[in-house]
Protein backbone atom coordinates (compact mmCIF):
# COMPACT_ATOMS: atom_id res chain seq x y z
CA UNK A 1 0.00 0.00 0.00
CA UNK A 2 2.99 2.29 0.29
CA UNK A 3 2.93 2.71 -3.47
CA UNK A 4 -0.48 4.44 -3.25
CA UNK A 5 0.78 7.01 -0.74
CA UNK A 6 4.01 7.37 -2.69
CA UNK A 7 2.08 7.94 -5.90
CA UNK A 8 -0.08 10.68 -4.34
CA UNK A 9 2.93 12.38 -2.75
CA UNK A 10 5.23 12.15 -5.78
CA UNK A 11 2.48 13.10 -8.22
CA UNK A 12 1.83 16.24 -6.19
CA UNK A 13 5.53 17.05 -5.83
CA UNK A 14 6.00 16.29 -9.52
CA UNK A 15 3.87 19.32 -10.34
CA UNK A 16 6.65 21.50 -8.95
CA UNK A 17 9.78 19.45 -9.59
CA UNK A 18 10.77 17.20 -12.49
CA UNK A 19 12.82 14.81 -10.33
CA UNK A 20 9.67 13.44 -8.67
CA UNK A 21 7.88 12.65 -11.92
CA UNK A 22 9.89 9.48 -12.63
CA UNK A 23 9.20 8.33 -9.07
CA UNK A 24 5.49 9.10 -9.57
CA UNK A 25 5.54 6.97 -12.75
CA UNK A 26 7.21 4.09 -10.93
CA UNK A 27 4.73 4.38 -8.08
CA UNK A 28 1.84 4.40 -10.53
CA UNK A 29 3.07 1.21 -12.20
CA UNK A 30 2.97 -0.42 -8.79
CA UNK A 31 -0.48 1.04 -7.96
CA UNK A 32 -1.85 -0.22 -11.26
CA UNK A 33 -0.66 -3.73 -10.54
CA UNK A 34 -2.25 -3.61 -7.09
CA UNK A 35 -5.52 -2.29 -8.48
CA UNK A 36 -5.63 -5.14 -10.98
CA UNK A 37 -5.14 -7.54 -8.05
CA UNK A 38 -1.60 -8.49 -9.05
CA UNK A 39 1.51 -8.51 -6.89
CA UNK A 40 3.66 -5.43 -7.28
CA UNK A 41 6.98 -6.85 -8.38
CA UNK A 42 8.61 -3.67 -9.63
CA UNK A 43 10.69 -3.38 -6.46
CA UNK A 44 9.42 0.15 -5.94
CA UNK A 45 7.91 -0.44 -2.50
CA UNK A 46 11.08 -2.20 -1.33
CA UNK A 47 13.18 0.73 -2.54
CA UNK A 48 11.06 3.30 -0.71
CA UNK A 49 11.00 1.25 2.49
CA UNK A 50 14.77 0.74 2.32
CA UNK A 51 15.33 4.48 1.90
CA UNK A 52 13.33 5.23 5.03
CA UNK A 53 14.61 2.27 7.10
CA UNK A 54 18.18 3.03 6.03
CA UNK A 55 17.97 6.56 7.40
CA UNK A 56 16.43 5.36 10.65
CA UNK A 57 19.00 2.57 10.96
CA UNK A 58 21.77 5.18 11.01
CA UNK A 59 20.19 6.69 14.14
CA UNK A 60 18.59 3.79 15.94
CA UNK A 61 18.08 0.10 15.20
CA UNK A 62 15.03 0.09 17.53
CA UNK A 63 13.36 2.90 15.57
CA UNK A 64 14.07 1.14 12.29
CA UNK A 65 12.62 -2.08 13.68
CA UNK A 66 9.40 -0.28 14.72
CA UNK A 67 9.14 1.38 11.30
CA UNK A 68 9.54 -1.97 9.54
CA UNK A 69 6.56 -3.36 11.46
CA UNK A 70 4.41 -0.27 10.90
CA UNK A 71 4.82 0.37 7.15
CA UNK A 72 1.84 -1.62 5.98
CA UNK A 73 -0.63 -0.69 8.78
CA UNK A 74 0.27 3.01 8.51
CA UNK A 75 0.04 2.87 4.73
CA UNK A 76 -3.42 1.26 4.95
CA UNK A 77 -4.43 3.91 7.52
CA UNK A 78 -3.32 6.73 5.18
CA UNK A 79 -5.06 5.21 2.19
CA UNK A 80 -8.28 4.68 4.17
CA UNK A 81 -8.07 8.26 5.55
CA UNK A 82 -7.53 9.55 2.04
CA UNK A 83 -10.64 7.86 0.67
CA UNK A 84 -12.74 8.82 3.69
CA UNK A 85 -11.61 12.46 3.32
CA UNK A 86 -12.35 12.27 -0.40
CA UNK A 87 -15.88 11.12 0.43
CA UNK A 88 -16.48 14.00 2.84
CA UNK A 89 -15.03 16.56 0.42
CA UNK A 90 -17.22 15.19 -2.35
CA UNK A 91 -20.29 15.26 -0.15
CA UNK A 92 -19.49 18.80 0.97
CA UNK A 93 -19.17 19.95 -2.63
CA UNK A 94 -22.53 18.35 -3.50
CA UNK A 95 -24.27 20.05 -0.56
CA UNK A 96 -22.69 23.37 -1.50
CA UNK A 97 -23.98 23.17 -5.06
CA UNK A 98 -27.44 22.11 -3.91
CA UNK A 99 -27.93 24.13 -0.75
CA UNK A 100 -25.29 26.85 -0.86
CA UNK A 101 -23.65 25.38 2.19
CA UNK A 102 -21.43 22.37 2.63
CA UNK A 103 -23.23 21.56 5.92
CA UNK A 104 -27.04 21.89 5.57
CA UNK A 105 -27.57 20.95 9.23
CA UNK A 106 -25.57 23.98 10.34
CA UNK A 107 -25.32 26.25 7.30
CA UNK A 108 -23.35 29.07 8.84
CA UNK A 109 -20.65 26.72 10.05
CA UNK A 110 -19.59 26.22 6.43
CA UNK A 111 -16.91 28.78 5.50
CA UNK A 112 -18.29 28.97 1.95
CA UNK A 113 -21.92 29.56 3.02
CA UNK A 114 -23.92 32.02 0.92
CA UNK A 115 -27.64 33.04 1.15
CA UNK A 116 -28.64 31.97 -2.35
CA UNK A 117 -27.56 28.68 -3.77
CA UNK A 118 -25.26 28.77 -6.77
CA UNK A 119 -27.89 26.81 -8.69
CA UNK A 120 -30.50 29.49 -8.11
CA UNK A 121 -28.02 32.13 -9.21
CA UNK A 122 -27.38 30.22 -12.44
CA UNK A 123 -31.15 29.82 -13.07
CA UNK A 124 -31.68 33.52 -12.49
CA UNK A 125 -29.60 34.27 -15.56
CA UNK A 126 -31.89 32.19 -17.76
CA UNK A 127 -35.20 33.51 -16.33
CA UNK A 128 -37.36 35.20 -18.94
CA UNK A 129 -37.77 38.90 -18.20
CA UNK A 130 -41.23 39.72 -16.77
CA UNK A 131 -43.79 41.29 -19.21
CA UNK A 132 -44.00 44.97 -18.10
CA UNK A 133 -47.54 45.34 -19.60
CA UNK A 134 -49.05 42.70 -17.33
Amino acid sequence: MICVIAFLVFAFLGIFSVKYRQLAKEAFACVFKRMTLRKCDTGFEEKIKAQITGRLLKRSTRLAKIAEKLYEPVAWLFVASFFVSLFFVGRGAYYYLKFGTCNPQSPTSCPFYRSATPLEKVLDIYKCPQDPTK
Binding site: E46, A50, T53, G54, L57, K58, T61, A64, K65
Partner: protein, 416 residues
Protein backbone atom coordinates in the same frame (compact mmCIF):
# COMPACT_ATOMS: atom_id res chain seq x y z
CA UNK B 1 52.31 -6.45 -0.95
CA UNK B 2 51.07 -2.99 -1.83
CA UNK B 3 49.82 0.06 0.00
CA UNK B 4 46.01 0.06 -0.34
CA UNK B 5 45.84 3.74 0.55
CA UNK B 6 48.15 4.56 -2.36
CA UNK B 7 46.10 2.35 -4.68
CA UNK B 8 42.83 3.98 -3.58
CA UNK B 9 44.21 7.44 -4.32
CA UNK B 10 44.35 6.38 -7.99
CA UNK B 11 40.60 5.73 -8.14
CA UNK B 12 38.60 8.97 -8.45
CA UNK B 13 35.27 7.19 -7.86
CA UNK B 14 36.41 6.19 -4.36
CA UNK B 15 37.40 9.71 -3.43
CA UNK B 16 34.01 11.31 -3.32
CA UNK B 17 31.25 11.68 -0.75
CA UNK B 18 27.72 10.46 -1.43
CA UNK B 19 25.18 11.87 1.03
CA UNK B 20 28.11 12.77 3.24
CA UNK B 21 29.60 9.26 3.26
CA UNK B 22 32.27 7.58 1.12
CA UNK B 23 31.19 4.84 -1.30
CA UNK B 24 32.03 1.25 -0.40
CA UNK B 25 32.16 -0.83 -3.55
CA UNK B 26 31.87 -4.60 -3.30
CA UNK B 27 30.46 -5.41 -6.74
CA UNK B 28 33.74 -6.08 -8.54
CA UNK B 29 32.59 -9.41 -9.96
CA UNK B 30 30.17 -7.37 -12.06
CA UNK B 31 32.44 -4.47 -12.91
CA UNK B 32 35.60 -3.03 -11.39
CA UNK B 33 36.41 0.63 -10.82
CA UNK B 34 38.93 2.43 -13.06
CA UNK B 35 42.16 4.12 -12.04
CA UNK B 36 42.94 7.59 -13.32
CA UNK B 37 45.72 6.16 -15.52
CA UNK B 38 43.15 4.22 -17.56
CA UNK B 39 40.80 7.20 -17.75
CA UNK B 40 43.68 9.47 -18.81
CA UNK B 41 44.77 7.12 -21.59
CA UNK B 42 41.24 7.05 -23.02
CA UNK B 43 40.88 10.81 -22.74
CA UNK B 44 44.22 11.17 -24.49
CA UNK B 45 42.85 9.21 -27.44
CA UNK B 46 39.76 11.42 -27.68
CA UNK B 47 41.69 14.65 -27.14
CA UNK B 48 44.86 14.07 -29.13
CA UNK B 49 44.35 11.49 -31.93
CA UNK B 50 40.64 10.57 -32.25
CA UNK B 51 40.95 8.80 -35.60
CA UNK B 52 40.52 5.25 -36.86
CA UNK B 53 43.37 2.80 -36.93
CA UNK B 54 44.55 0.11 -39.39
CA UNK B 55 43.43 2.15 -42.38
CA UNK B 56 44.82 5.60 -42.92
CA UNK B 57 48.43 6.63 -43.35
CA UNK B 58 48.01 9.98 -41.67
CA UNK B 59 49.52 11.09 -38.37
CA UNK B 60 46.60 10.23 -36.14
CA UNK B 61 45.71 7.00 -37.89
CA UNK B 62 49.25 5.72 -37.43
CA UNK B 63 49.27 6.76 -33.77
CA UNK B 64 46.01 4.85 -33.12
CA UNK B 65 47.31 1.76 -34.91
CA UNK B 66 50.55 1.90 -32.94
CA UNK B 67 48.80 2.29 -29.58
CA UNK B 68 46.27 -0.47 -30.29
CA UNK B 69 48.90 -2.92 -31.41
CA UNK B 70 50.93 -2.10 -28.31
CA UNK B 71 47.85 -2.81 -26.18
CA UNK B 72 47.34 -6.09 -28.03
CA UNK B 73 50.93 -7.18 -27.41
CA UNK B 74 50.76 -6.10 -23.72
CA UNK B 75 47.60 -8.16 -23.25
CA UNK B 76 49.16 -11.09 -25.10
CA UNK B 77 52.20 -10.97 -22.81
CA UNK B 78 49.86 -10.73 -19.78
CA UNK B 79 48.55 -14.22 -20.53
CA UNK B 80 51.69 -15.54 -22.27
CA UNK B 81 50.14 -15.63 -25.72
CA UNK B 82 51.19 -14.30 -29.14
CA UNK B 83 49.73 -11.02 -30.41
CA UNK B 84 48.03 -12.71 -33.35
CA UNK B 85 46.18 -14.96 -30.91
CA UNK B 86 44.42 -12.01 -29.24
CA UNK B 87 41.07 -11.00 -30.72
CA UNK B 88 39.40 -7.86 -29.39
CA UNK B 89 35.72 -8.35 -28.59
CA UNK B 90 33.14 -6.35 -26.64
CA UNK B 91 33.27 -8.71 -23.66
CA UNK B 92 33.49 -12.35 -22.58
CA UNK B 93 29.94 -13.01 -23.80
CA UNK B 94 30.88 -12.00 -27.32
CA UNK B 95 34.00 -14.16 -27.18
CA UNK B 96 31.97 -17.23 -26.24
CA UNK B 97 29.36 -16.47 -28.88
CA UNK B 98 32.12 -16.11 -31.48
CA UNK B 99 33.30 -19.65 -30.75
CA UNK B 100 29.77 -21.07 -30.65
CA UNK B 101 28.89 -19.51 -34.03
CA UNK B 102 32.18 -20.15 -35.77
CA UNK B 103 32.72 -23.72 -34.56
CA UNK B 104 29.13 -24.85 -35.08
CA UNK B 105 27.93 -22.77 -37.98
CA UNK B 106 26.95 -25.72 -40.12
CA UNK B 107 24.44 -28.36 -39.06
CA UNK B 108 26.02 -31.80 -38.98
CA UNK B 109 24.11 -34.64 -40.57
CA UNK B 110 25.60 -37.41 -38.46
CA UNK B 111 27.22 -37.83 -35.07
CA UNK B 112 26.48 -34.53 -33.41
CA UNK B 113 29.47 -32.80 -31.80
CA UNK B 114 29.33 -32.74 -28.02
CA UNK B 115 29.64 -29.68 -25.81
CA UNK B 116 30.19 -30.23 -22.09
CA UNK B 117 29.50 -27.50 -19.53
CA UNK B 118 28.92 -27.51 -15.79
CA UNK B 119 25.72 -26.82 -13.83
CA UNK B 120 27.09 -23.56 -12.46
CA UNK B 121 27.76 -21.52 -15.60
CA UNK B 122 27.00 -17.86 -16.23
CA UNK B 123 24.13 -17.42 -18.71
CA UNK B 124 26.73 -16.33 -21.30
CA UNK B 125 28.22 -19.82 -21.18
CA UNK B 126 24.85 -21.57 -21.06
CA UNK B 127 22.53 -19.94 -23.57
CA UNK B 128 24.77 -20.13 -26.68
CA UNK B 129 24.93 -23.92 -26.23
CA UNK B 130 21.22 -24.19 -25.41
CA UNK B 131 20.42 -22.46 -28.69
CA UNK B 132 22.75 -24.70 -30.67
CA UNK B 133 21.17 -27.74 -29.08
CA UNK B 134 17.67 -26.49 -30.00
CA UNK B 135 18.90 -25.94 -33.57
CA UNK B 136 20.03 -29.57 -33.65
CA UNK B 137 23.69 -28.65 -34.14
CA UNK B 138 25.20 -30.11 -30.95
CA UNK B 139 24.59 -32.54 -28.14
CA UNK B 140 24.88 -30.84 -24.76
CA UNK B 141 26.07 -32.50 -21.55
CA UNK B 142 25.95 -30.84 -18.12
CA UNK B 143 28.36 -32.00 -15.42
CA UNK B 144 27.04 -31.50 -11.88
CA UNK B 145 29.38 -29.83 -9.41
CA UNK B 146 29.80 -31.10 -5.86
CA UNK B 147 27.49 -29.91 -3.07
CA UNK B 148 30.14 -27.45 -1.90
CA UNK B 149 30.48 -25.98 -5.40
CA UNK B 150 33.82 -27.57 -6.24
CA UNK B 151 34.28 -29.29 -9.58
CA UNK B 152 33.47 -32.98 -9.74
CA UNK B 153 36.39 -34.38 -11.74
CA UNK B 154 35.16 -37.94 -11.44
CA UNK B 155 31.78 -37.18 -12.95
CA UNK B 156 33.50 -35.09 -15.62
CA UNK B 157 35.76 -37.99 -16.56
CA UNK B 158 32.76 -40.31 -16.74
CA UNK B 159 30.75 -37.93 -18.95
CA UNK B 160 33.64 -37.29 -21.26
CA UNK B 161 34.35 -41.00 -21.64
CA UNK B 162 30.67 -41.69 -22.43
CA UNK B 163 30.44 -38.89 -24.99
CA UNK B 164 33.74 -38.98 -26.80
CA UNK B 165 32.20 -41.01 -29.60
CA UNK B 166 30.94 -37.81 -31.27
CA UNK B 167 32.85 -35.79 -33.81
CA UNK B 168 36.66 -35.85 -33.64
CA UNK B 169 38.79 -33.29 -31.87
CA UNK B 170 38.02 -30.22 -33.91
CA UNK B 171 34.35 -30.23 -32.97
CA UNK B 172 33.89 -31.62 -29.46
CA UNK B 173 34.21 -28.93 -26.83
CA UNK B 174 34.42 -28.50 -23.08
CA UNK B 175 33.28 -24.97 -22.16
CA UNK B 176 33.68 -24.05 -18.50
CA UNK B 177 34.10 -21.16 -16.14
CA UNK B 178 37.71 -20.93 -15.00
CA UNK B 179 36.45 -19.21 -11.83
CA UNK B 180 32.78 -19.12 -10.87
CA UNK B 181 31.11 -15.72 -10.49
CA UNK B 182 28.62 -17.35 -8.11
CA UNK B 183 30.90 -18.62 -5.37
CA UNK B 184 34.44 -17.77 -6.46
CA UNK B 185 35.52 -21.39 -6.89
CA UNK B 186 38.41 -21.83 -9.33
CA UNK B 187 38.11 -25.08 -11.26
CA UNK B 188 41.05 -27.48 -11.65
CA UNK B 189 41.43 -26.40 -15.27
CA UNK B 190 44.87 -27.92 -15.89
CA UNK B 191 43.50 -31.36 -15.04
CA UNK B 192 40.30 -30.67 -17.00
CA UNK B 193 42.25 -29.61 -20.10
CA UNK B 194 44.50 -32.68 -19.90
CA UNK B 195 41.50 -35.05 -19.68
CA UNK B 196 39.65 -33.17 -22.43
CA UNK B 197 42.57 -33.30 -24.87
CA UNK B 198 43.17 -36.97 -24.13
CA UNK B 199 39.57 -37.61 -25.18
CA UNK B 200 39.55 -35.44 -28.26
CA UNK B 201 37.81 -32.38 -26.83
CA UNK B 202 38.77 -28.74 -27.31
CA UNK B 203 38.55 -26.48 -24.26
CA UNK B 204 37.09 -22.99 -23.99
CA UNK B 205 37.57 -21.24 -20.64
CA UNK B 206 35.41 -18.38 -19.40
CA UNK B 207 38.13 -16.45 -17.55
CA UNK B 208 36.04 -13.34 -16.81
CA UNK B 209 36.47 -13.87 -13.05
CA UNK B 210 40.03 -15.21 -13.22
CA UNK B 211 42.00 -12.79 -15.39
CA UNK B 212 41.41 -9.81 -13.04
CA UNK B 213 42.59 -11.71 -9.96
CA UNK B 214 45.10 -14.41 -10.89
CA UNK B 215 48.06 -14.93 -13.18
CA UNK B 216 47.05 -16.82 -16.34
CA UNK B 217 49.51 -18.64 -18.60
CA UNK B 218 47.67 -20.01 -21.63
CA UNK B 219 50.74 -21.89 -22.87
CA UNK B 220 51.16 -23.67 -19.55
CA UNK B 221 47.40 -24.38 -19.38
CA UNK B 222 47.31 -25.44 -23.02
CA UNK B 223 43.68 -24.28 -23.30
CA UNK B 224 42.38 -23.84 -26.84
CA UNK B 225 40.29 -20.71 -26.24
CA UNK B 226 40.00 -18.30 -23.34
CA UNK B 227 37.73 -15.26 -22.99
CA UNK B 228 37.78 -12.38 -20.54
CA UNK B 229 36.53 -8.79 -20.19
CA UNK B 230 38.26 -5.47 -19.69
CA UNK B 231 35.59 -3.97 -17.46
CA UNK B 232 36.23 -6.49 -14.66
CA UNK B 233 39.95 -5.71 -14.54
CA UNK B 234 40.17 -1.94 -14.27
CA UNK B 235 39.62 -1.52 -18.01
CA UNK B 236 36.86 0.30 -19.86
CA UNK B 237 33.39 -1.05 -20.60
CA UNK B 238 32.81 -2.48 -24.05
CA UNK B 239 36.16 -4.23 -24.52
CA UNK B 240 37.15 -7.83 -24.01
CA UNK B 241 39.53 -10.43 -25.37
CA UNK B 242 39.20 -13.84 -26.89
CA UNK B 243 42.43 -15.82 -26.95
CA UNK B 244 42.68 -18.78 -29.34
CA UNK B 245 45.54 -21.00 -30.49
CA UNK B 246 46.63 -19.56 -33.80
CA UNK B 247 46.14 -22.75 -35.89
CA UNK B 248 42.61 -23.11 -34.53
CA UNK B 249 41.71 -19.47 -35.22
CA UNK B 250 43.10 -19.77 -38.73
CA UNK B 251 40.79 -22.73 -39.43
CA UNK B 252 37.69 -21.07 -37.95
CA UNK B 253 35.30 -19.18 -40.22
CA UNK B 254 34.70 -15.55 -39.16
CA UNK B 255 31.73 -14.62 -36.94
CA UNK B 256 30.95 -11.00 -37.82
CA UNK B 257 32.17 -9.85 -41.21
CA UNK B 258 32.71 -6.55 -42.96
CA UNK B 259 35.36 -3.89 -43.02
CA UNK B 260 38.62 -4.66 -41.23
CA UNK B 261 38.16 -8.41 -41.76
CA UNK B 262 39.20 -8.49 -45.41
CA UNK B 263 42.29 -7.89 -47.53
CA UNK B 264 40.30 -7.41 -50.72
CA UNK B 265 36.83 -7.90 -52.22
CA UNK B 266 35.12 -8.15 -55.57
CA UNK B 267 31.37 -8.17 -56.10
CA UNK B 268 31.41 -11.94 -55.69
CA UNK B 269 34.34 -12.74 -53.44
CA UNK B 270 36.11 -11.68 -50.26
CA UNK B 271 39.70 -12.40 -49.31
CA UNK B 272 39.79 -12.60 -45.53
CA UNK B 273 42.73 -11.47 -43.47
CA UNK B 274 44.59 -13.75 -41.09
CA UNK B 275 43.65 -13.84 -37.40
CA UNK B 276 43.08 -11.78 -35.37
CA UNK B 277 41.81 -9.19 -37.87
CA UNK B 278 39.60 -11.79 -39.55
CA UNK B 279 37.44 -11.69 -36.42
CA UNK B 280 37.45 -7.93 -35.77
CA UNK B 281 34.74 -6.52 -37.99
CA UNK B 282 34.12 -2.81 -38.34
CA UNK B 283 35.77 0.11 -36.66
CA UNK B 284 36.99 -0.98 -33.25
CA UNK B 285 36.58 0.48 -29.80
CA UNK B 286 39.96 2.24 -30.02
CA UNK B 287 39.58 4.16 -26.77
CA UNK B 288 38.59 0.89 -25.11
CA UNK B 289 41.56 -1.00 -26.52
CA UNK B 290 43.99 1.71 -25.45
CA UNK B 291 42.34 1.89 -22.01
CA UNK B 292 42.51 -1.89 -21.66
CA UNK B 293 46.23 -1.81 -22.43
CA UNK B 294 46.69 0.82 -19.77
CA UNK B 295 44.73 -1.33 -17.26
CA UNK B 296 46.99 -4.32 -17.98
CA UNK B 297 50.07 -2.20 -17.34
CA UNK B 298 48.57 -0.96 -14.07
CA UNK B 299 47.87 -4.53 -12.94
CA UNK B 300 51.40 -5.59 -13.90
CA UNK B 301 52.83 -2.74 -11.81
CA UNK B 302 50.78 -3.78 -8.78
CA UNK B 303 51.50 -7.49 -9.33
CA UNK B 304 48.88 -10.21 -9.80
CA UNK B 305 50.28 -12.30 -6.92
CA UNK B 306 49.91 -9.29 -4.61
CA UNK B 307 46.33 -8.75 -5.71
CA UNK B 308 45.40 -12.39 -5.07
CA UNK B 309 47.10 -12.37 -1.69
CA UNK B 310 45.27 -9.17 -0.69
CA UNK B 311 41.88 -10.57 -1.73
CA UNK B 312 42.37 -13.89 0.01
CA UNK B 313 43.40 -12.15 3.23
CA UNK B 314 40.37 -9.83 3.11
CA UNK B 315 37.93 -12.57 2.18
CA UNK B 316 39.19 -14.78 5.01
CA UNK B 317 38.65 -11.89 7.43
CA UNK B 318 35.17 -11.22 6.02
CA UNK B 319 34.30 -14.90 6.25
CA UNK B 320 35.21 -15.07 9.95
CA UNK B 321 33.25 -11.87 10.72
CA UNK B 322 30.24 -13.05 8.74
CA UNK B 323 30.19 -16.38 10.53
CA UNK B 324 30.18 -14.53 13.88
CA UNK B 325 26.76 -13.12 12.89
CA UNK B 326 25.28 -16.62 12.74
CA UNK B 327 24.42 -16.43 16.44
CA UNK B 328 22.05 -13.52 15.63
CA UNK B 329 20.38 -15.19 12.64
CA UNK B 330 21.23 -18.33 10.66
CA UNK B 331 23.02 -17.67 7.40
CA UNK B 332 24.37 -19.79 4.58
CA UNK B 333 27.51 -19.14 2.61
CA UNK B 334 27.37 -20.53 -0.93
CA UNK B 335 30.32 -22.59 -2.07
CA UNK B 336 33.09 -24.19 -0.01
CA UNK B 337 33.34 -23.37 3.70
CA UNK B 338 37.05 -22.58 3.28
CA UNK B 339 37.28 -18.95 2.08
CA UNK B 340 40.67 -19.69 0.50
CA UNK B 341 38.78 -21.72 -2.10
CA UNK B 342 36.48 -18.78 -2.93
CA UNK B 343 39.04 -16.21 -4.00
CA UNK B 344 37.63 -12.73 -3.44
CA UNK B 345 33.96 -13.71 -3.58
CA UNK B 346 31.52 -14.54 -0.80
CA UNK B 347 27.86 -15.11 -1.62
CA UNK B 348 25.45 -15.69 1.23
CA UNK B 349 21.82 -15.90 2.29
CA UNK B 350 20.36 -14.77 5.60
CA UNK B 351 17.42 -16.80 6.84
CA UNK B 352 14.19 -14.82 6.90
CA UNK B 353 15.65 -11.70 5.26
CA UNK B 354 15.17 -11.09 1.55
CA UNK B 355 18.48 -10.77 -0.31
CA UNK B 356 17.33 -7.69 -2.25
CA UNK B 357 16.29 -6.05 1.00
CA UNK B 358 19.77 -6.62 2.43
CA UNK B 359 21.36 -5.04 -0.62
CA UNK B 360 18.95 -2.07 -0.59
CA UNK B 361 19.51 -1.43 3.11
CA UNK B 362 23.30 -1.73 2.84
CA UNK B 363 23.13 0.86 0.08
CA UNK B 364 20.78 3.29 1.80
CA UNK B 365 22.44 3.04 5.21
CA UNK B 366 26.15 3.19 4.49
CA UNK B 367 26.63 3.43 0.68
CA UNK B 368 27.71 -0.21 0.54
CA UNK B 369 27.28 -1.59 -2.98
CA UNK B 370 26.83 -5.33 -3.31
CA UNK B 371 25.03 -7.51 -5.83
CA UNK B 372 21.82 -9.34 -4.99
CA UNK B 373 19.85 -11.85 -7.02
CA UNK B 374 20.96 -14.74 -9.20
CA UNK B 375 24.18 -13.20 -10.62
CA UNK B 376 23.21 -14.36 -14.15
CA UNK B 377 23.37 -17.97 -12.99
CA UNK B 378 19.60 -18.34 -12.80
CA UNK B 379 19.80 -22.00 -13.83
CA UNK B 380 21.73 -22.98 -10.69
CA UNK B 381 19.44 -21.04 -8.35
CA UNK B 382 16.33 -22.48 -10.00
CA UNK B 383 17.74 -25.99 -9.73
CA UNK B 384 18.42 -25.52 -6.01
CA UNK B 385 15.12 -23.72 -5.33
CA UNK B 386 16.92 -20.65 -3.97
CA UNK B 387 15.41 -17.24 -4.78
CA UNK B 388 18.74 -15.45 -4.73
CA UNK B 389 21.67 -14.40 -2.59
CA UNK B 390 23.88 -11.45 -1.70
CA UNK B 391 27.35 -11.37 -3.26
CA UNK B 392 30.33 -9.49 -1.91
CA UNK B 393 33.20 -9.43 -4.42
CA UNK B 394 36.51 -7.85 -3.47
CA UNK B 395 39.35 -6.26 -5.38
CA UNK B 396 42.69 -4.60 -4.80
CA UNK B 397 41.26 -1.30 -3.46
CA UNK B 398 38.98 -2.80 -0.80
CA UNK B 399 40.04 -2.56 2.83
CA UNK B 400 39.53 -4.23 6.18
CA UNK B 401 37.82 -1.06 7.44
CA UNK B 402 35.24 -1.36 4.67
CA UNK B 403 34.59 -4.96 5.70
CA UNK B 404 34.10 -3.80 9.31
CA UNK B 405 31.48 -1.25 8.21
CA UNK B 406 29.76 -3.95 6.13
CA UNK B 407 29.61 -6.31 9.11
CA UNK B 408 28.33 -3.61 11.48
CA UNK B 409 25.60 -2.60 9.03
CA UNK B 410 24.71 -6.21 8.29
CA UNK B 411 24.35 -6.86 12.00
CA UNK B 412 21.87 -3.99 12.31
CA UNK B 413 19.92 -5.24 9.29
CA UNK B 414 19.55 -8.80 10.50
CA UNK B 415 18.36 -7.55 13.90
CA UNK B 416 15.36 -5.82 12.24
Amino acid sequence: MFDTKEIRANFPSLNQAINGQPPIYFDNACMSLRPKQVIASMNEYYEKFPACGDRSFHLWGEEVTKRCEKARSDIARFINAKSEEIIFTRNTTEGINLISHSLYGEKESDNLPVVITSDKEHNSNLIPWQLLEKQGKIKRVIVKTNKDGTFNLEEFQQEIAENKSGKPQEKNLVSLAYTSNLDGVTNPVEEIIKISHQNGFLVLLDAAQTAPHQKIDVKKLDCDFLAFSGHKMLGPSGIGVLYGKYELLKALPPFLVGGETIADTTYQTAEFLEPPHKFEAGLQNYAGIIGFGSAINYLNDVGMENILEHELKLNTYFDSQLKSLESKRPLTILGPADPALRGGITSFLVEGVDHHKIALLLNSTTNIMVRSGSFCVHSWFNDKGIKGAVRVSLYLYNTKEEIDILIQTLEKIIKL
